[in-house]
């Protein structure tokens, strides 16, 4: 099944990949290891997951504004997500996406995207191929 969502462009670009999704906000400063791309925030539902090359789907960013530079560090090391899809983008993620040149779109109903779905981001358009539900 394929669904098409229309969001708002924060950083123009196109990317396609597997969705890594969470309903919890993400702090990049202190919450993501810039050396490995792994989520290290204690108790986060994605703790231990690697965000590299994923379409990272989360509601919004939180924490210190240094987080923007962490996105840049991840990108330069090839550990950044392919694209970011937010419910409501805030400045840390917006600025990080712009300086790291990661496609970013928000105002998307992220509850419609599940982990493992294939997602294609193209400007404001987000196409989702739902993973077949296991019986």
């Amino acid at each position: 099944m394929r669904i098409v969502l229309e969001g708002r462009v924060i950083r123009e670009g196109r990317a396609e990949g597997e969705a890594l999704t969470t309903r919890q906000p993400i702090s990049f400063y202190g919450g993501v290891d810039p050396e490995t791309g792994r989520i290290i925030e204690r108790g986060h539902e994605l703790e231990g997951e690697v965000i590299a090359d994923k379409i990272l789907v989360f509601p919004y960013g939180k924490g210190s504004t240094v987080g923007s530079y962490i996105l840049l560090r991840l990108r330069r090391r090839g550990l950044a997500p392919k694209a970011i899809v937010n419910q409501r983008c805030e400045p840390i993620i917006a600025v990080g996406a712009i300086i790291a040149e990661i496609p970013c779109v928000d105002e998307v109903d992220i509850s419609l995207i599940s982990r493992g779905d294939i997602v294609r981001v193209e400007g404001a358009r987000v196409e989702v191929w739902k993973r077949r539900q296991s019986p």
Binding site: T65, S68, I98
Partner: protein
């Protein structure tokens, strides 16, 4: 969002890479917050200076901007990871120092003044009532808004840098009258030290999370206590503006207002708040004051409390180079150094590579410092007011 012709040109890349990146950031922020247009600013204050936070990639980004970028307004810089003149004496490793100096060079090339302080308002960057500015560094942001009556949102390092390069910022949030009114009335006890002021700020910031507190009952508070109160509010909460009845410049506009909600903070609450952030330390590696950077008044008070007694352990003061120069001019610096007090500039324990300096236990008088030192550096901290901390230093 409406853009002027110049702004459109910058966004299209006609004024170079740095101006284009800056405009992309400002337009995205304007979009997120529904700004109608950009507004010209009088000054900027940039955080994101310590190499410990920027890393190699942050440094590369700054170098790229510096290739064709220049700030359009007077712009000052937050502390970096070391004292630029005495880093070796501080114990900062040489590899770190090399990288840190490259970061400073990139900022210099962008036309930014290397003030390297979180208190630009004590170092010549002093916006006036109603001036629009774009500042980062949460303790400076809240001081500019509350004590000076200037107008800035709580910028991050890159967005403040973007505003400095473009000379403008999106018009939203605290730039607009309607967002500067109090949201909560705080009945507070009289404050007698910077530590109590910072604990009051820390507690109220934690309780409110966001919004604009209006304080009543504080009595006569000093400029340094307002600095400490703001730093506390901004570190435990996302607060960027407060008013104090009879003291801060915009408070009179709201004196007749009855806030819907009201909180009372007692002296007992303040003691509890200090205990929450503090643990008992017998033999600290370092005693320090100057978070935010110390003023000339704080240096003077420290000297008077010491009363000529020699320091028995490491007592460091962090201040801007501007304040250190003032202290030198009036002979205070020499007197402090004579009895063993060390005054460092350009840095602070929060942004310095503290563990690499071998510091694991600290006594200080700032709630903000306690919060960050514990969370970022894993250091053990005890909070004491200046009068008591001085007694530990001479023991």
């Amino acid at each position: 969002m409406y853009l002027t012709r110049l702004e459109e040109e910058m966004l299209a890349g006609e004024h170079g890479y740095a101006a284009q990146k800056a405009m992309e950031i400002l337009v995205a922020l304007g979009k997120i917050y529904g700004a109608e247009r950009l507004i010209e600013i009088r000054s900027a204050q940039i955080s994101g200076v310590s190499y410990a936070n920027l890393g190699e990639e942050g440094l590369e980004f700054l170098l790229k901007l510096a290739e064709d970028g220049k700030v359009r307004v007077p712009t000052t810089l937050n502390p970096c990871g070391m004292d630029l003149e005495e880093w070796a004496e501080m114990g900062v490793p040489e590899d770190f120092a090399d990288k840190q100096l490259k970061v400073i060079e990139a900022y210099l090339k962008l036309g930014i003044e290397p003030t390297l302080t979180c208190t630009p308002y004590l170092a010549g960057n002093i916006p006036g009532l109603g001036d629009h500015v774009a500042w980062s560094e949460s303790s400076a942001v809240i001081y500019a808004n509350s004590v000076l009556g200037a107008r800035t949102n709580r910028e991050g390092g890159p967005s403040a840098l973007a505003a400095a390069i473009a000379g403008r910022t999106p018009l939203y949030g605290l730039h607009l009258d309607e967002n500067r009114a109090p949201t909560m009335l705080i009945r507070a006890p009289r404050i007698s030290s910077e530590l109590e002021a910072s604990a009051l700020g820390y507690r109220v910031g934690r309780m409110l999370g966001s919004g604009v507190p209006f304080f009543k009952g504080l009595g006569a508070v000093s400029r340094d206590q307002l600095k400490a109160l703001g730093a506390g509010l901004a570190s435990s909460g996302g607060i960027a503006l407060f008013h104090v009845e009879g003291i801060t410049p915009e408070a009179h506009r709201y004196s007749g207002m009855h806030a819907e909600e009201e909180i009372e903070v007692t002296e007992k609450d303040l003691r509890e708040e200090i205990e929450l952030l503090s643990e008992s330390l017998e033999d600290p590696d370092l005693i320090f004051i100057g978070c935010p950077h110390a003023s000339i008044e704080e240096l003077t008070e420290l000297y008077l409390l010491l009363g000529g007694r020699r320091i028995g352990r490491r007592l460091w003061v962090f201040a801007s180079r501007a304040v250190k120069a003032q202290a030198e001019k009036i002979g205070l610096l020499e007197k402090l150094e004579e009895i063993g007090v060390k005054v460092y500039c350009d840095t602070c324990p929060v942004v310095a590579p503290l563990r690499r300096l071998g510091v694991k236990t600290i006594i200080t008088n700032s709630s903000k410092a306690a919060y960050y030192l514990r969370n970022i550096h894993g250091v053990r901290v005890q909070l004491k007011p200046l009068q008591e901390l001085v007694e530990d230093a001479v023991r």
